[in-house]
C-alpha cells in the first residue's frame, strides 16, 4: 500500500503527518510506504497511491485522483489518523 501525505511545501506539515501516519500504521500492523509531497507534485504522486492524507484547505487543490483522499484535522493526533486510515483501508 502507498500513502501520500500532502502539504503546501512538502517539508513541514506533510512530514509531521507522515511521521504520525507511520506510527498509526505500525500500531495497526499495516505494511505501507508513506511519502511526503508538496501540493505541486502531489497530483502525480497521488496517481500511483492508494490513499492521500491532507488538510481541509488543500484537499480541493488535489482534485480528482484515483486515490482515496482523506482529510485530517489534527496532524498531531495519532488516534484521529488511525481511525481515518482504519475506515478507509478496512
Amino acid at each position: 500500500m502507498k500513502i501520500v501525505a500532502v502539504c503546501g511545501m512538502g517539508i513541514g506539515t506533510s512530514v509531521l503527518l507522515k511521521m504520525n501516519a507511520e506510527k498509526a500504521l505500525r500500531a495497526m500492523g499495516v505494511d505501507a510506504d508513506v511519502e511526503a509531497a508538496d501540493i505541486g507534485t502531489a497530483r502525480g504522486a497521488a496517481r500511483t497511491a492508494d490513499v492521500v492524507l491532507t488538510s481541509d484547505e488543500l484537499a480541493p487543490e488535489i482534485g480528482e485522483v484515483p486515490a482515496k483522499v482523506i482529510v485530517i484535522k489534527n496532524f498531531t493526533d495519532v488516534n484521529e489518523i488511525t481511525e481515518a486510515l482504519q475506515s478507509s483501508i478496512a
Partner: protein, 151 residues
C-alpha cells in the same frame, strides 16, 4: 536530539503579543533570523505560503507550523518558538485560534527530520503543550523541553 538544544538564545518568545496571524508568523521569522538559520526574506515567504495555500499550517488545535520551502533565504536548518499571550485567528476551520507558532527553516527535504520527530513527540501530549505555552520565560520552555527528553 533534544528540542531544547535546537532553540538557542533569541529563538524562543514567550507571552508574545501579535495582533493577527501575519504578526505571529513575523515573530516566528524573527526567531529564525536570531538563530541564524534564515534571512528576513524567509519571513515574507512564510507569510506568502499562507496567502497562497490558506491556513493549512495550523495542523493541530492552537498550533501553527510556520514554514516555507528551501530557498536562498534559508541559511541553515532550525526552528523557532513563539508562545502567544493572546491567541490569534489564522482562519483555520478546524484548529483556530492559535497560541503556539513554531517556525521551521529547512535547507532540504531531510536535514530537519530529527527535529521534526522530536517536535511531533512534544505536540502529541496536550498537557505538556499547555504547560509549554503557559511558560513565562524562554528558560522555562527550554527547561521543560530538556526534562521531556530525559523522561
Amino acid at each position: 536530539m533534544s528540542l531544547a538544544d535546537q532553540l538557542p538564545e533569541g529563538t524562543i518568545a514567550t507571552k508574545a503579543v501579535a495582533k493577527d496571524w501575519r504578526e505571529a508568523i513575523r515573530l516566528a521569522g524573527d526567531g529564525l533570523v536570531a538563530g541564524g538559520v534564515a534571512t528576513e526574506q524567509y519571513t515574507t515567504e512564510m507569510i506568502e505560503a499562507v496567502e497562497k495555500h490558506g491556513p493549512y499550517i495550523v495542523v493541530a488545535p492552537g498550533f501553527a507550523l510556520a514554514h516555507s520551502r528551501p530557498s536562498p533565504a534559508v541559511l541553515g536548518t532550525g526552528i523557532s518558538w513563539v508562545g502567544l499571550a493572546e491567541p490569534v485567528a489564522f482562519g483555520s476551520a478546524a484548529n483556530d485560534p492559535v497560541t503556539l507558532v513554531v517556525g521551521l527553516a529547512a535547507q532540504d527535504h531531510d536535514s530537519h527530520l530529527a527535529v521534526m520527530s522530536s517536535l511531533a513527540g512534544v505536540l502529541a501530549d496536550e498537557n505538556v503543550l499547555r504547560e509549554l505555552i503557559a511558560a513565562e520565560t524562554p528558560e522555562q520552555v527550554r527547561a521543560r523541553l530538556a526534562e521531556l527528553e530525559t523522561e
